[in-house]
């Protein structure tokens, strides 16, 4: 299995990886494979049943429950990254506002709106254009 992953790593190398961490991306399969072994005691936020339901819907029959956890973990990380980016956008927006009428220096209550989410998603290649109202 290690051989296989190494072969496939070379293909994966061409997409996504930027300059500095070529060494790491070359063997991206290995750490992942090792990480899989450590997944047994870790429970992701998204339950296994939900993830396996969606995977089964797509045709992915997971024989190993660790693979399901890996997928759910990957999904979680993806969403968290988007959320973090959106939060940064939101903070930038609120700090740009000159008014000091808010109780504390920074607006403690952050609400995720489409204004912040759209540029965050754009960075990940997802273009979202939603009309603000329905005609």
């Amino acid at each position: 299995m290690k051989l296989e992953s190494e072969e496939k790593c070379t293909d994966g190398n061409t997409s996504g990886a930027t300059g500095g961490d070529q060494a790491e991306s070359k063997t991206a399969g290995q750490p992942l494979a090792e990480f899989l072994m450590q997944l047994e005691d870790y429970t992701p936020t998204i339950p296994d049943a939900v993830t396996s339901h969606y995977l089964t819907m797509a045709g992915f029959e997971a024989s190993d429950p660790r693979m399901v956890r890996l997928v759910s973990l990957a999904a979680q990380k993806f969403i968290s990254d988007i959320g973090n980016d959106a939060l940064q956008h939101c903070k930038a927006r609120s700090s740009a506002l000159p008014n000091k009428s808010s109780k504390t220096s920074k607006d403690k209550k952050y609400t995720l709106t489409m204004e912040d989410l759209a540029p965050a998603l754009n960075e990940y290649g997802i273009t979202v254009k939603k009309p603000p109202y329905f005609v």
Partner: protein, 288 residues
């Protein structure tokens, strides 16, 4: 179907809370939910394709690696992410039990499924569903009882019919006493030409009633005519007159009580056998 989506929504909420958001717009929430769902489905799809491309049926880690590389998803920091300190672990979602059907009105225990019926099919109804209450008395089917019943019925019918005919028709008595009713026998009706019955067999009997009416002494009806002399004339004529037509004409002209009484006396004196069913229709008295 929607349960998975709901659970996924809850997880999304937890993730966003972890990221630092306190609230989320409905549209943004739905968008993120779609992103999450689509991520998982496309991962599964692409992984399956890679797996099948390699000639396998069960996917392997390598397929997942290829999938993420293909989708352009960077998983370099995943280990660090997994070990993050502030991760929220949602309480394990318990499997909700299916709402049990209300057993308040249950009477008795239901029959278990026979072996050829799988368990996931609905259970049998309560045992009172099998009770059969006939709405009528079951008919007797025993041969002996039926024969006896038939014989008794036949006997009763015969007795009742003969009694009826004896009470309403002509009777003859074998005894010399005047009381006719102690043992009435149905009178024999001598036919003027008895051999005719043998020579002309009949299979339909409705002509008999008309015959009976004709044989009846017509004077009874014709008496309701205007004069006594007329009655005697018609007496001699006998059966040719048509009795039913005369009564409707007469009573209109005779509206006096006295004449009615006279007629009534006449009837009683001439004919001792008084058959109430063969009497002419009596119109109600008009009291002046």
């Amino acid at each position: 179907m929607a349960e998975h989506r709901t659970v996924l929504g809850v997880c999304l909420g937890a993730l966003l809370t972890e990221a630092g958001f306190d609230a989320v717009d409905n549209i943004a929430y739905e968008t993120m939910l779609e992103v999450l769902t689509s991520f998982m489905i496309s991962t599964g799809n692409t992984a399956r394709n890679y797996c099948e491309l390699a000639g396998r049926v069960q996917p392997v880690v390598g397929d997942l690696v290829m999938t993420y590389a293909d989708l352009g998803i960077d998983l370099r920091g995943i280990e660090r992410y997994a070990r993050r300190q502030q991760r929220l672990v949602l309480p394990a979602l318990g499997v909700g039990s299916a709402p049990r059907p209300i057993t308040i009105l249950q009477a008795g225990s239901k029959l278990p499924h026979p072996s050829h019926i799988p368990e996931h099919l609905p259970a049998f109804p309560d045992p009172h569903a099998y009770i059969r209450t006939p709405t009528h008395k079951q008919p007797v089917t025993e041969y002996e009882a039926l024969r006896e019943k038939a014989a008794a019925q036949k006997r009763d019918i015969e007795r009742a019919l003969t009694k009826f005919v004896a009470k309403t028709g002509d009777t003859q008595s074998l005894f010399t006493t005047d009381d006719v009713n102690i043992f009435p026998l149905v009178a024999c009706k001598p036919h003027p030409q008895p051999f005719l019955d043998a020579l002309m067999p009949k299979d339909q009997v409705f002509d008999e009633e008309d015959e009976d009416l004709e044989l009846q002494p017509p004077p009874k009806r014709v008496k309701r005519g205007l004069d006594l002399s007329q009655n005697t004339d018609k007496d001699s004529d006998g059966e040719d007159s048509s009795p039913p037509s005369s009564p409707p004409e007469c009573p209109d002209s005779q509206s006096e009580v006295g004449k009615d009484i006279l007629q009534a006396e006449k009837i009683s004196s001439e004919d001792p056998i008084d058959n109430p069913y063969l009497q002419a229709v009596k119109k109600p008295h008009k009291y002046i």
